[in-house]
Homo-oligomer: 102 residues x 2
């Protein structure tokens, strides 16, 4: 029932990006913040599965100004999503406490 690692990272990316959280941006954020290089497809599949679990939601955003192409799909966390993320964080902090690298 707990979050996979990429799921966690993806949710974090969504939080950081705020209103600009769509596919390619999330992909970049993953690469920059976590050095995790994945395809866009991976990003979408991950987010869609999180949406099925009710942890994120999304809406289409009409392409702005003079930019062509398909509409962006922008993601944001749901309340359950925030809860899940909070737990993940608490665990992450507890886990490393007192561990010393040789």
């Amino acid at each position: 029932m707990s979050l996979g690692e990429l799921q966690q990272l993806a949710m974090l990316a969504v939080v950081r990006l705020g209103s600009g959280a769509y596919g390619a941006a999330i992909q970049d954020e993953l690469a920059n913040v976590a050095s995790r290089r994945v395809s866009v497809a991976t990003v979408y599949v991950t987010l869609v599965r999180l949406e099925e679990r009710g942890l994120v939601r999304s809406k289409e955003e009409r392409p702005p100004d003079g930019r062509g192409g398909r509409a962006r799909r922008v993601f944001e966390l749901t309340p359950s999503g925030w809860d899940a993320l909070g737990e993940a964080r608490a665990t992450a902090e507890r886990i490393w406490r007192g561990v010393v690298q040789p």
Copy 2:
């Protein structure tokens, strides 16, 4: 190429337990430190897969003093294992920086 979450937790448990890192002990550690309740089978499968990847190694430990039963299999990290764990930690720290819960 990166560690799954349970893999990470299991390695941490091994580190914490030192010379006492065998199946049941690891299982308990997972429950106590990370509130992650899994079966022993899960613990073994995870550790065996990590061993195949060269991140941990193990040896049998003859049952001590007057205790019956099968020999324990005690795990410890390999140098690669320490590296992987170090990276995981660095990433974990970088990731949460600047994230505020609403």
